[in-house]
């Protein structure tokens, strides 16, 4: 299920260039934004929620690694590392 979604999403991303949806990738280090939506299967959303990443929450970008490496964000008091592609599914306002 997750995998299906992955493909669908990549496909979607390809056509629209993802430019219409703002993700963490667009933030500078230290910049803050509010989460608008989280796209994905139940598993991914649950996992994100349990780490404190959910709709309406403020996140701060800390850093990103080179060549599409993981992105680090701060949510509440916690720092979280998210894989590059997973981070694409977190849509910001």
């Amino acid at each position: 299920m997750n995998k299906l979604f992955d493909k669908a999403h990549r496909h979607h991303g390809h056509h629209h260039g993802c430019n219409d949806l703002k993700t963490i990738h667009a933030l500078k280090n230290g910049e803050v934004a509010k989460i608008k939506d989280i796209l994905g299967g139940r598993n991914f959303i649950n996992r994100a929620e349990s780490l404190g990443i959910r709709e309406g929450v403020q996140i701060t970008k800390i850093s990103s690694q080179m060549m599409s490496g993981p992105i680090t964000v701060k949510v509440g008091q916690t720092q979280i590392a998210i894989g590059h592609r997973m981070a694409m599914r977190i849509i910001l306002e």
């Binding site: 929620e49 850093s63 690694q65 993981p70 680090t72 916690t78 894989g83």
Partner: protein, 571 residues
């Protein structure tokens, strides 16, 4: 017996609280997933004896990894009549996120006590929690504690009898948590601490890698310094000046030859005991573990424990994540790899922190084949190091290349895809000296207790093999492989046999074989790769299951012959 179950998110200090309650010391670190299986201990509540269970951390009762599954199962199997109680350990600096599990536990209708751990850190970081109000809302006892210092633990124990089912009800979990937080928590603004700045720098896209190289360089320098100093200034003089004369006397008493002399003292080299080459129980059998391996084990575990407790390891994981993905595992897999570098047994256990079976198979196989344990590594340094740094870099360089290629191929061949990293990064903490020493002692003691008897057994076994001419016999049988493919003398098969028992002893057995540098390099690589020692094998079998272990073993043997054969051709 009544049971007390410690449950909570990963890295909230459950194991530290567990140690405080039971007096049983378990390894605790500053990252998620140190505890991969539950640990049992006992304690007294008043006059009653109770069993305490330290359960691996979990974010929710619908688990993602094998370690988390343990927790979910224990909670879902709860029966009221057992009289068990659950202690929900919470990281006070992260109340909001931790409450998610608390509310899930409340829904399960289990008798609960909430333990607000890391209370001192919450105070320092400007998090204020109104304990009384929280207690009122949740309707279960709430106790602030600082596990590391033991503060509040007595209060916690006195509340165990007041554990009860919560009457708190809610519709939407996060909405309810939001409301609770609004009432009970106050955040004070504060400036960035030095630790936070350092934390950000160590995962910076440009500075991260240089910093990690510096950390590794410093780490290995310290390990070498500790190892070499202990050997040169304490252990070698001890063996040469005190133990050697005693052994020489014993040798004379035993008549200088014969079966018993051979087993106890071994062969005399030029009429003298050579602690490396004599291969007797009381000579080489003691010298190898105590004077060659132990010093480096102490250095390694000191550094590893420091890195674990400081919170650096997950950050290193993030830096290498991208690269590790090409090998079919994600960055956090450096944890089993580094633990495996100490001893493959805990390394194989730690593979549980990886989410999928595929990742666990790849990581375990890579570790078992290409990561030597530190005992073996110390022996290789001692033996091959005599031929210079080039010889050593050939051994470890080859193993590293094998490690990378193996991951790369397994990732290509195996079905499926490994998930991306998605982890919590703990804050940097300055490790407490007392805790660090305790942890170092636990690990060193485990080595002494488990490794030394096995090494003595290894030496004894080896002597038997020689005495009964078994090595000659098997040597002749396996000559086409050992000599034909790998280019080693046929007696080297003895090391391969003993290697099942202890790999460090096996490396030591190469010493009297008069091999040249190339042969020593090949033999060291082959001994690392061909098969895990029996202790590691047993754990791997349990973790992977028979079918996967067979697959993994086939890969081990095949890759050993391939790599050894290629090295034999080109060296």
């Amino acid at each position: 017996m009544k049971k007390v179950l410690l449950v909570g998110n990963p890295n909230v200090g459950k194991s530290v609280v567990f140690s405080r309650l039971t007096g049983v010391h378990v390894v605790a670190s500053n990252y998620s997933g140190t505890t991969v299986e539950y640990t049992k201990g006992t304690m007294r509540i008043g006059s009653e004896k109770a069993e305490v269970l330290d359960i691996p951390g979990t974010y929710s009762l619908s688990p993602d990894s094998k370690a988390e599954q343990v927790a979910a199962e224990m909670i879902n199997n709860f029966k009221e009549e057992d009289g068990n109680i659950f202690v929900n350990v919470i990281d006070s600096t992260n109340l909001e996120r931790n409450l998610a599990l608390t509310l899930e536990l409340i829904k399960k209708k289990i008798p609960l006590v909430v333990c607000l751990n890391m209370w001192d850190e919450a105070k320092h970081t400007g998090v204020e929690i109104d304990v009384e109000k929280l207690e009122q809302i949740l309707g279960v006892p709430v106790v602030p504690t600082t596990g590391i210092t033991g503060e509040g633990i007595k209060n916690l124990v006195s509340c165990f009898n007041k554990a009860k089912l919560s009457k708190f009800t809610f519709k939407d979990k996060w909405h309810a948590i939001g409301k609770i937080i609004e009432v009970v928590q106050e955040l004070k603004h504060r400036h960035h601490t030095f630790g936070e700045r350092l934390g950000d720098a160590s995962i910076h896209r440009f500075w991260g890698i240089p910093i990690s190289l510096l950390v590794l360089l410093i780490s290995f320098t310290i390990i070498r310094l500790i190892g070499e100093s202990l050997i040169t200034y304490i252990l070698e003089p001890l063996f040469n000046n005190i133990w050697a004369p005693i052994m020489m006397k014993l040798s004379t008493i035993l008549g200088g030859k014969g079966v018993i002399h051979h087993v106890v003292i071994g062969n005399l080299v030029d009429g003298q005991i050579d602690f490396v080459e004599s291969l007797g129980l009381l000579t080489t059998g003691l010298f190898v573990p105590i004077a060659m391996v132990l010093p480096y084990i102490i250095g390694f575990y000191l550094i590893l424990s420091f890195l674990e407790d400081s919170g650096y390891l997950p950050r290193l994981g993030i830096l290498v994540d991208n690269f590790m993905h090409k090998l079919g595992i994600h960055g956090l897999a450096i944890v089993p790899m580094l633990l495996g570098l100490g001893c493959n047994v805990p390394g194989a256990m730690a593979a549980r922190i990886l989410e999928t079976k595929r990742e666990r198979f790849i990581a375990s196989t890579m570790m078992a084949i290409a990561v030597p344990c530190f005992a073996q590594l110390a022996m290789v340094v001692g033996l091959v190091g005599k031929h210079g740094a080039l010889a050593l870099s050939m051994v470890f360089g080859t193993l590293f290349i094998v490690w990378v290629l193996l991951g790369f191929f397994l990732n290509k061949i195996m079905k499926g895809e490994s998930p991306e990293i998605f982890i919590e990064i703990p804050p940097y903490r300055l490790p407490s000296f007392r805790v660090l020493m305790k942890k170092l002692w636990m690990r060193v003691w485990a080595f002494i207790k488990e490794a030394i008897p096995f090494m003595l057994l290894g030496v004894l076994f080896m002597n038997l093999l020689y005495a009964l001419h078994i090595i000659d016999f098997i040597g002749k049988l396996t000559e086409p492989i050992i000599t034909g493919i790998l280019g080693l003398p046929k007696e080297a098969v003895g090391a391969l046999i003993v290697g099942f028992l202890r790999k460090d002893v096996a490396i030591g057995m190469l010493s009297p074989l008069n091999m040249n540098m190339e042969q020593l390099v090949i033999a060291s690589v082959v001994l690392t790769m061909y098969f895990p020692c029996i202790a590691t094998f047993t754990v791997l079998l349990k973790e992977l299951g028979i079918k996967d272990m067979l697959k993994s073993s086939a890969i081990m043997i095949f890759s050993t012959l391939l790599v050894g054969g290629i090295m034999n051709i080109f060296l």
